[in-house]
Amino acid sequence: MATAAHDAPAPPAEAERRGLQIVPRAGIPFAAAAIVGVIVAVALDSHWALNFFHVAGGGAWTTLDLFLGFVLGPIMGRLSLPARIELSMRLMPKLVLLIPTLVTLTLASGFQLAHDFGFLDSSYPRHGYIVASFVVVAIMAVIAIGYLEPANLAVLFELRKPQPDGEVIQKLMRRFLYTAGVTGALQVATLVIMTRLPT
């Protein structure tokens, strides 16, 4: 009896859920510093700094998408609802801040570098790869902004209710898991394109 009670998955405490921060305030200064950093890099046209933001931001974004899509996503799909809720409460607020910041750093610095190196010029021999990267990023942006982010935010707001609607949470998390898989696959396409450019 005692063992059964011990083994049962306990849902997160209501007080913990209701105190959930949709956007973790502690992370905002770091995100702001990174954004200011990339603005300074663009203003100074520092190739080292632009490369740093593009490689570090893009590497982190790609890794995160691949990890969410192909590692954590399938694991979350097999968890019980209380376990999924518990994991989501801790993971999703971080993603709300982290992903848009990484995307902004990567794209702003990448566009500037591509301009400086002449990759944007339609006469560049591998311009087709650049256009392909625009298309892949565009699809990822639509998926992230149109599907993933709304589902993420709606789940977090649902969790803060006194009585969250389990059906709504499951439906939205299913959407989150599928789209994370699709963006993971698109990140593989990005890796192929980016490694084709300098060779």
């Binding site: 990339v38 663009v42 848009p100 010029d121 339609s122 625009f134 942006a141």
Partner: protein
């Protein structure tokens, strides 16, 4: 609020296709930006970009009208999420515009890219605000 509206779960209240319109507008904006950016520094035929952006503008206006007419809807949640998202996307949009200006994008291309960016900055908060508010209890 009527009793019928109060008794139904927010998720079960039928809504007009506001989210679908928002995603469609986003797709049109993104296609127009990719089309324009793929011709840099050449001058593309701008008619397709005008058509795409005009259609996206119509979809954003349609969203605003439909949201304005919603009943049993949590406007407080919509304004809270949409407002903060607007702040965030003004920053993101401002950065993208800055990069365009920094790279000497000028004239008609800049005007079209700025138009697309403005639609993006308005459209995303509408999508996010509506997506959250549709699952919240209506303001009492």
């Amino acid at each position: 609020m009527s009793d019928a509206g109060a008794a139904v779960r927010p998720a079960d209240i039928p809504r007009p296709p506001i989210w679908e319109l928002g995603v469609a507008a986003l797709v049109l904006v993104v296609v127009s930006v990719v089309y324009l950016a793929s011709y840099i520094p050449g001058k593309p035929n701008t008619i397709p970009a005008y058509v795409l952006l005009a259609a996206a503008s119509a979809l954003v206006v349609a969203q605003l009208v439909l949201i304005g007419g919603l009943e049993h809807f949590s406007r407080r949640s919509f304004h809270q999420v949409g407002g903060w998202a607007l702040v965030a996307y003004v920053v993101i949009g401002g950065m993208i515009e800055y990069v365009f200006l920094r790279n000497d994008t000028r004239g008609e291309e800049l005007a079209l890219l700025t138009w697309g960016l403005a639609l993006f900055v308005v459209d995303v908060p509408l999508i996010l605000g509506f997506s959250v508010a549709r699952f919240q209890a209506a303001d009492g």
